[in-house]
């Protein structure tokens, strides 16, 4: 047949169609391969299993090198639901020491996206956490029978001493919030919670390593990617050396049994905290392992709030322990000198106002006033300062100066201790009273109770202890801290430098002498040790919750002090009844390592007494 040239042109249509399609495909390929970067990531997450290598967490030692917190391996049973094949459930339960019901419950919990939002049948899911070493051994032997299950090694904390839970803190699994805040964490990691575990988390946790494994479409591991060339070895966490003396800590805790309150002991020269007790406390091992959740709930719901670290979170009225600071301010401002005396006729009486006092000689100057804890003296002194318009212009201006001195002594703001959750306490300023009473409508008499550490004034036991350390140092302090050394790291400067309050050094000697007199012949006579010159000041703080709080601050020895202590016992009555004995026992224990026989009876009384009954908190 002759060729039809009209039809031949149709080849262009066919070619055109083909070329168009090819062009579309090239554009599509350009889009897929060059423009869109996502596919590379998809491919990597397909093929590479980035397995985290967990470093061992830093160990924690006390100031004498005694190991306090260490690691123990724990084993989580993980499962990849998709890979699980039929297996002998009864044998599995038997191996893990769980009942069939627990097994079913665990499985349904795991699949419940409300409980386990990250559930996916493709990724490893936690089946059982914290297997004991024995269960681990048994399971390891039989693991080949249970495809889809594997064991992930974890690290748990272990404690050598059932003590200092508030200082040490604990570790917990990270929450979604933690992961959001710090991209170091991935689901299932652990992080510090409370205490130094939290505040030194970055040092303790070390650095996770990663092992890049190649995984095929069936989830089987085909080996290391490029023979591990891109793997990163984990870096162990740094060890911490606490400034805590674990023996002293335990001793102080034992004295505080059945009492609510706190004990803080500081080495004045270094700002190192030797003991920091919050009572009631708890057993740190409660928050380890499988029972953590249940125990944590129990502690949170406990009416005595054991998780609340009273040593630095609780703001108490300092009561008479506030008086040394008042003496310092009055001296500094030139309101009084050592011979200035104020009258005390069973109290301070002015303008229809009366602040009671107990019987002692009258009129008295500063040192005897500290010795006898005379309310009237400090009220008069305060009034003399606040109402001295000739010097300050107005009560408000005078009050601001008074407040600034206190702030320089560490009150009213966080001291900056290296533990989480520190409270500021409370020192009001002039604005505060202007708001309540109106500008110019208040004077010293209106707010006279702040002069004796009552009224609006609140301080943490740590701040009180810090004031004591400042007096012991005769005029300076170092921010209190619980960590003495971080392995291979220099301590941060702010925990090493001296801080100088706005009070001249010479005045501290006078106040220290007053505190010494309180021990030798005043309110703190129970603290008068045979061989050690103790200085102290009691406090009896009225409070709206019931019986007065019993407080004490003291340091020793008088010359060259090595320990400054604050004891605060809620609803325990006079400072001399609980504060002084406990404080003096802590001082004696630390300085002499034991309690002299003639003071054993005091120790006995403190160990056995119970003041919780006065607190109004019913324990169920």
């Amino acid at each position: 047949m002759r060729k039809d040239y009209r039809l031949e042109k149709r080849k262009y249509v066919i070619c055109g169609f083909l070329i168009t399609v090819a062009l579309i495909y090239v554009i599509r390929l350009f889009n897929l391969q060059v423009c869109d970067d996502r596919y590379k990531d998809f491919a990597d997450s397909n093929a590479f299993l980035r397995k985290a290598q967990y470093p061992s967490r830093g160990l924690i030692f006390d100031r004498n090198g005694e190991l306090v917190v260490y690691n123990q391996p724990a084993y989580d049973v993980m499962m990849i639901p998709r890979d699980v094949q039929e297996f002998d459930t009864i044998d599995f339960c038997h191996t893990l020491n769980i009942t069939r019901e627990q097994f079913d419950k665990r499985l349904s919990d795991m699949k419940d996206r409300r409980i386990n939002p990250g559930y996916s049948s493709y990724t490893p899911q936690k089946f059982i956490t914290h297997l004991s070493a024995q269960d681990y051994g048994r399971l390891q032997e039989k693991l080949y029978r249970y495809p889809g299950f594997f064991i992930q090694k974890r690290i748990l904390r272990q404690y050598n001493h059932i003590s200092a839970a508030n200082v040490l803190g604990n570790i917990r699994e990270v929450s979604a919030k933690d992961i959001e805040k710090d991209d170091y964490y991935t689901s299932g990691d652990y992080c510090g919670d409370l205490g130094v575990e939290k505040s030194y988390e970055k040092y303790l946790r070390g650095h996770k390593g990663v092992e890049i494994l190649i995984r095929d479409a069936h989830g089987r591991i085909q080996g290391k990617y490029e023979d591990g060339a891109h793997d990163v070895a984990p870096v162990s966490g740094r060890n911490l050396k606490l400034s805590i003396d674990i023996d002293l800590q335990q001793y102080a805790e034992s004295l505080m049994v059945n009492k609510i309150g706190a004990v803080v002991a500081i080495e004045p020269k270094t700002g190192e905290i030797l003991a920091m007790v919050s009572s009631p406390t708890y057993d740190p091992t409660m928050l380890v392992g499988r029972q953590r959740g249940a125990n944590y709930r129990k502690l949170v719901n406990d009416r005595l709030h054991p998780l609340f670290d009273r040593a630095l979170m609780a703001a108490y009225p300092p009561g008479s322990t506030f008086k040394p600071s008042q003496g310092l301010i009055l001296l500094q401002e030139g309101i009084v000198n050592l011979s200035t005396s104020y009258p005390c006729h069973k109290g301070f009486i002015s303008g229809g106002l009366r602040v009671g006092c107990h019987p002692h000689g009258s009129p008295i100057p500063l040192k005897p006033a500290l010795q006898t804890s005379c309310n009237a003296y400090f009220c008069w002194g305060f009034k003399a300062m606040i109402d001295r318009r000739s010097k300050y212009g107005s009560s408000a201006d005078a009050f601001e100066i008074w407040k600034n001195h206190l702030v320089s002594l560490g009150y009213g703001y966080r001291l900056g201790v290296d533990l989480p959750g520190e409270s500021r306490g409370f020192i009001p300023n002039a604005k505060f009273y202007n708001k309540i009473y109106g500008e110019g409508r208040w004077s010293a008499n209106t707010i006279i109770s702040v002069s004796i550490g009552q009224g609006e004034i609140l301080a943490t036991p740590l701040q009180i202890a810090n004031l004591c350390a400042t007096i012991a140092n005769r005029g300076w302090f170092i921010t209190p801290h619980v960590v003495k050394e971080i392995q291979d790291t220099v301590m941060p400067d702010e925990l090493l430098v001296q801080r100088h309050p706005s009070i001249d050094k010479k005045y501290f000697d006078e106040v220290a002498e007053g505190m010494r007199m309180a021990v030798t012949g005043g309110t703190c006579r129970l603290a008068n040790l045979k061989d050690i010159e103790v200085c102290g000041k009691t406090g009896t703080a009225q409070n709206p919750h019931g019986k007065d709080h019993s407080a004490f601050m003291g340091f020793a020895p008088y010359k060259d002090p090595r320990i400054a202590v604050c004891v605060y016992v809620e609803n325990a009555g006079f400072g001399a009844t609980y504060g002084v004995p406990i404080g003096s026992l802590v001082i004696e224990k630390y300085l002499t390592k034991n309690i002299s026989p003639e003071r054993k009876y005091i120790e006995q009384r403190m160990l056995e007494s119970n003041t919780i009954i006065y607190s109004g908190v019913k324990k169920h």
Binding site: K11, I14, A43, I214
Partner: protein, 491 residues
């Protein structure tokens, strides 16, 4: 004498062989073997020459297919013409027998097991059908349009194998024979039928598929269909109406306004997309109508009619699909078309294949460095999805090169077809081109997620002896016929 003439004949065969085609064939086959080696490469135990491996087997198939090609070239070209119907009948019988004696492999009964080998007769029926088609069209004074029964004869020739292959449950292979409509078109079937069918399918798939992203506020699918309609309009005016100047004007109008809109978007001035597209097309249609009135060219009306119908079709497809059909019906269509991203089920293949190709980047990860294909993320990666390996290991460069090779091969075959002095040679060559076009379009389209997943191999690349041999038959018979085209001239 007899011997000398044969010698001369053979010499002329090799002198007149179309070496371009053979070289591209060889390159594609070798690239295929390399890709299969890469796809089935195991990180742990690698050996090229183990014949147990896919690549080893494929190398054996390739070697045999070279021998086969040589044998085919040595057979006298006239033999193919003479025995076209017997070969066709023989393979139809084989297809029929296969339905009954083939073992059930994954639901299909298409494999004949012969000792260590198994062959798929459906692959060989392709060249037989092509021969039969060529034979039919080479009949004395045969033209498609001379009588309607000629259409029926032609359609019967390829619908019988389609039915037999469907009976073997090999839908994909059966579909390939539909490409012979291209041949019918070339031989005189009205182009509008073919064109309208292709457009309808393309518009539907594109419009339904790309609804998630938008361009200028119009779903990408609809936007793309509009661009297609515009392109088609320009093409029709230029080719169908033979008015290149009008076509150029319309083209400039579309491109010009398109560029303006694009530049405005760069300056954060948002032009609503749909009014622009409809407006631009409407203006072009109006222009065509005016031209029609001036020149009395009825074909312009066809162009306008086509464009308006296409836009109407586009909107009705969307309307019917989104508003009339219920959700489960929509899903069924989407899944059947391989459009719905059902990542666990049917969509898994396409998704993994896109990941593999997409992760290749511009230059690729390098030979044997592809993780997705090595780690078996892409199913059927050495057969239907072999193109993934190219995409992952050789990147955009590799995929474009492969596309280019196929394009050149098919265009070359069309060139060969058009230079045939006989209808037999031409029709046969067009059959070969048509098969290749369909395989190429569907296979690559499916791997890059543009076409529904229809399991047909990529010619010369995919693992498997039947497919390779089937295409070798097709190609070398063509080469043999082409080589002796001059003999006809000397008649």
């Amino acid at each position: 004498m007899e011997l000398r003439s044969t010698n001369k004949n053979q010499q002329s065969v090799f002198r007149h062989l179309d070496w371009t085609t053979i070289i591209i064939y060889a390159i594609l086959v070798i690239m295929g073997a390399v890709s299969i080696y890469a796809a089935s490469y195991d990180f742990d135990n690698a050996s090229i020459f183990s014949f147990d491996e896919f690549s080893g087997k494929q190398i054996r198939w390739i070697g045999l297919s070279f021998v086969l090609g040589l044998v085919l070239l040595l057979i006298d070209a006239r033999m193919y013409e003479t025995y076209a119907y017997p070969i066709y009948t023989g393979l139809l019988l084989l297809l029929l027998v296969t339905i009954f004696i083939a073992p059930d492999i994954k639901g299909s009964r298409s494999w004949l097991v012969l000792g260590p080998m198994s062959l798929q007769p459906a692959e060989f029926a392709k060249f037989a059908t092509a021969l039969a088609m060529a034979k039919l069209f080479s009949g004395y004074n045969f033209t498609l349009n001379s009588k309607p029964s000629n259409y029926i004869k032609a359609l019967l020739l390829f619908f019988i194998p389609i039915l037999l292959i469907l009976a073997q449950k090999e839908t994909g292979s059966a579909l390939v024979y539909l490409s012979l409509f291209f041949v019918l078109y070339r031989e005189g079937m009205s182009g509008l039928i073919l064109f309208a069918a292709i457009c309808a399918v393309t518009f539907f798939v594109v419009a339904v598929k790309y609804t998630e992203t938008t361009i200028l506020g119009v779903p990408s699918g609809e936007f793309s269909v509009f661009i297609l309609i515009m392109t088609i309009m320009v093409g029709m005016v230029g080719i169908y109406c033979k008015r290149p100047i009008i076509a150029r004007n319309i083209f400039l109008w579309f491109v010009g306004t398109g560029i303006v809109v694009f530049i405005l978007t760069l300056f954060e001035i948002r032009i609503p997309g749909l009014p622009y597209l409809i407006g631009a097309t409407a203006v072009a249609c109006l222009y065509c109508l005016i031209q029609m009135l001036r020149s009395q060219l009825k074909r312009m009306l066809v162009v306008v009619g086509f464009t308006v119908t296409a836009i109407g079709f586009l909107f009705s497809v969307n309307y019917v699909f989104n508003n009339v059909l219920q959700e489960h019906q929509q899903n069924r269509i989407l899944v059947a078309l391989g459009i719905k991203e059902d990542l666990r089920g049917a969509g898994y293949n396409v998704n993994q294949s896109k990941i593999a190709i997409g992760s290749g980047g511009f230059w690729g990860k390098g030979f044997l460095n592809g993780t997705q294909t090595k780690l078996k993320y892409v199913p059927e990666q050495h057969t239907d999805f072999i193109f993934c390996t190219v995409g992952e290991e050789h990147g955009f460069v590799g995929t474009t090169l492969t596309l280019l090779l196929f394009l050149i091969l098919i265009l070359r075959i069309i060139v060969i077809a058009e230079r045939q002095p006989t209808a037999f040679g031409r029709v046969y060559a067009y059959c070969v081109a048509s098969y290749l076009i369909l395989h190429f379009v569907i296979n690559i389209g499916m791997v890059i997620g543009l076409c529904p997943v229809i399991g047909i191999p990529l010619p010369f690349f995919s693992y498997g002896g039947s497919s390779l041999w089937g295409f070798t038959f097709l190609l070398f018979i063509l080469l043999r016929i082409d080589a002796s085209r001059r003999e006809h001239l000397s008649y």
